[in-house]
């Protein structure tokens, strides 16, 4: 639902983009408001970590505002923005691998194997039970996503949650469209296997899909 609303907003963002390019700070601010949630959620799904997502989003938007004038084709803004975000995500991931002896994936997965994640359930009170279930499922799914390798994870998030076309993803990652589709295929396949291993399917999650 929010996706379509956002899309409508994007349609009208052409003039906004033009003004932001000319250095209009208000327009740049609006652009940030418009896209922040998307980039943050991309980062969140990539890292499964609020702080990292915030850091990557802020870096992405600072970089966006600075290099907006160099953007030649306004129609490519979306893939251009995701390209910046992806690059920062990769950079952060690399840094973290260097800084910590243990990969985040390993730590998280070990935890996820035996205990459900209790934290970060959104505070809505219309049917708490279902809300809790949904929060759990959401977390489990995101953990599964996080177990994929980076290449597949990027593609799956951009396709499934950010709604980019295969062509756009190819542009973002600077690879061929067919490679994107392959990564998507193996990403989905991998996700299914992970979820099967976690014994999660239609029957176990307890409500209709």
């Amino acid at each position: 639902m929010t996706e379509t609303l956002l899309d409508i907003a994007m349609m009208h963002s052409d003039t906004l983009l033009a003004r932001a390019k000319e250095g209009d700070q208000a327009a740049q601010g609006k652009l940030v408001q418009l896209w922040y949630k998307r980039i943050y959620n991309f980062g969140y799904k990539f890292f499964m970590d609020h702080d990292m997502a915030m850091e990557v989003s802020q870096k992405t938007f600072i970089s966006m505002c600075r290099s907006l004038p160099s953007l030649q084709d306004n129609a490519r803004f979306k893939s251009w923005l995701y390209k910046i975000a992806v690059n920062y995500c990769r950079e952060e991931a690399r840094k973290r691998k260097g800084n910590r002896s243990l990969s985040f994936d390993v730590v998280w997965n070990r935890e996820a194997e035996d205990s459900p994640a209790w934290e970060t359930s959104s505070q809505r009170f219309d049917n708490p039970e279902r809300q809790l279930q949904q929060a759990e499922l959401s977390d489990v799914l995101q953990q599964a996503l996080h177990e994929l390798n980076v290449e597949q994870r990027e593609v799956v998030i951009m396709k499934e949650y950010e709604g980019l076309k295969f062509r756009e993803i190819a542009e973002v990652l600077n690879i061929s469209e067919n490679t994107v589709k392959s990564r998507m295929y193996y990403g989905l396949d991998g996700l299914r296997k992970i979820l099967e291993r976690k014994n999660i399917n239609k029957d176990t999650i307890g409500y209709e899909l």
């Binding site: 949630k37 938007f61 959104s122 959401s138 295929y185 299914r192 979820l195």
Partner: protein, 286 residues
């Protein structure tokens, strides 16, 4: 059954990005191939499940981009090294000053010394006498002499060239002024005669034109007036003739009337006479 969709085509189909012709082929394949259909269905199920992950709400923090360019210049990364080099240079200079370091390069030898500079007068006193066969006054005189000579020759050549220049300038001036005078005279005389001629011709021409014009117009007027007079005479004649005719006819009609009247009176008279005669005869008879 030769067609088998690739993973790429399957993905494109799953997300509705497959071209029309390929999609038809794939749908046909799915109809005939239940295992492939099942696989696609499972993928769709997985997608539905993935859709359960909702976006996290987040408020965009204010992002200031304007900060960067106004960064103080001494915070720039390269400033550190530059400042380091400057500081060490300063230290070196200070130490050199305090320790009275003296470095000089003289007569193809480099001297580095600390403390006071030793006077090197001895060497200069050795070299001086060999050169000093001429006194400074003599040298000064020689220089003055040669300078004077030089000045004199320079002055002479200068005077000469100036004279030459003046002469040539005067000559050319005289020549040019003569030429110009002639030209001006020619031009003035020629132009006076020409103007006179021109004016005269103009006058005669004008006179001719006016004359002919007057002649022409006088002739025309004469003709016109003559014509007018003739026409008027004709008209008068006509009028008189007409009048005469009218008078004549009126006279005729008067005459006719007169005749008729006379005849009538004659008749009446005769009748009266006859009547009288008859009456008298009757009376007489009575």
């Amino acid at each position: 059954m030769s067609y088998k969709p690739s993973e790429q085509d399957l993905m494109a189909y799953l997300y509705g990005e497959l071209e029309d012709d390929k999609r038809e082929k794939l749908e046909q394949y799915l109809l005939e191939n239940p295992t492939a259909r099942l696989e696609l269905e499972r993928m769709n199920g997985l997608r539905r499940m993935l859709a359960q992950v909702e976006d996290k709400e987040v408020i965009a923090p204010p992002i200031f981009v304007g900060e960067h360019p106004s960064q103080r210049f001494w915070q720039a990364p390269y400033m550190k090294t530059i400042m380091g080099i400057a500081a060490s240079l300063l230290v070196v200079i200070l130490v050199a000053k305090l320790s009275g370091l003296n470095i000089r390069y003289q007569q193809q030898e480099l001297r580095i010394s600390f403390g006071d500079v030793p006077k090197v007068k001895t060497e200069s006193s050795v070299t001086q006498p060999t050169v000093a066969s001429l006194t400074p006054e003599q040298v000064q005189d020689m220089i003055n002499n040669s300078l004077q000579q030089n000045n004199a020759t320079l002055q002479a050549s200068l005077d000469e060239t100036q004279k030459k220049l003046n002469a040539s300038i005067n000559q050319s001036l005289a020549l040019n002024s003569g030429k110009i005078d002639k030209l001006v005279q020619q031009a003035s005389t020629a132009s006076e005669a020409q103007v006179r001629e021109f004016v005269a011709s103009m006058q005669t021409e004008n006179a001719k034109m006016v004359k002919s014009y007057f002649q022409l117009s006088a002739n025309e007027q004469k003709q016109y007036v003559e014509g007018l007079l003739v026409d008027f005479a004709k008209y008068l004649q006509q009028q008189r003739n007409d009048d005469l005719q009218v008078v004549r006819t009126q006279i005729n009609s008067l005459q006719q009337n007169n005749d008729v009247f006379r005849k009538e009176t004659e008749q009446i008279l005769t009748s009266i006479i006859s009547k009288v005669n008859t009456r008298s005869s009757v009376g007489m008879a009575n």
